[in-house]
Amino acid sequence: MPYPMQLGFQDATSPIMEELTYFHDHTLMIVFLISSLVLYVIILMLTTKLTHTSTMDAQEVETIWTILPAVILVLIALPSLRILYMMDEIYNPYLTVKAMGHQWYWSYEYTDYEDLTFDSYMVPTQDLSPGQFPLLEVDNRLVLPMELPIRMLISSEDVLHAWTVPSLGLKADAIPGRLNQATLTSTRPGVYYGQCSEICGSNHSFMPIVLEMTTLKYFEKWSSMMQS
């Protein structure tokens, strides 16, 4: 859940998001180092009285400022690729859940059990209870068990949408006629919010995603309640 004027990421709830947060910090440190160096050099050049406009054949400095940026780029690319492939990994999912995008709501299908499907519409602002968040609450939350790998399959019934939960490090396009797979794992219980992240029409901003991660016991209670 983000808070007003937040600058960084939301708290990580999945191992993938933790990795992404570390990677973000790592890359930002490199950016800061380069920016400070460039700023320092600019100030130095603007304030000095010395000028030297006829440097030629400076092989040493040419070599350094070619090799060093290449090394820095590799130091960014390798951890990035590592996380990219970690996100693609799916090992023995416990459950498969399908999220289908519609104009303008999400619907969820649990078909490992009996056919359990429901639509998830945003709660209009005038219907909110005290303590609920405007434009983020839905009438039917997606309830899932925590600490278990879950296979999310994301698709769309009409136009492009994108199913996103920032604190879990999840974002996948919902494309009509295509099934996209993502692994969802949460390390703790809680309610996590997300929004459609692909412009999909006039109510694009009003189709939030609410994920309720709970213990397996309560999840089973919920799913048997939803089926009856």
Partner: protein, 89 residues
Amino acid sequence: AGGRRTSFPPPAQRPSTPPFDPRFPNQNQTRNCYQNFLDFHRCTKTMRKKGKDTSPCDYYRKVFQALCPLSWVQRWNEQIQEGTFPGKI
């Protein structure tokens, strides 16, 4: 933490979801769904032709039911009934 997970009592209706399929290792799982739908119908057709029990085909049905969106399955079933399904069954 691994021990804690197994200490849960077995639920009445344990979900069993299709495992990882090395034929479809990518993010795009469209083919995984479609191939299992085809396999199910090919399997039942062959079994019926041989006059055998079709219960071995239930695995494919479970997989495509878990992976395919309900609207896709519904559309394909309608196409099969109308004889307009493009796949080879």
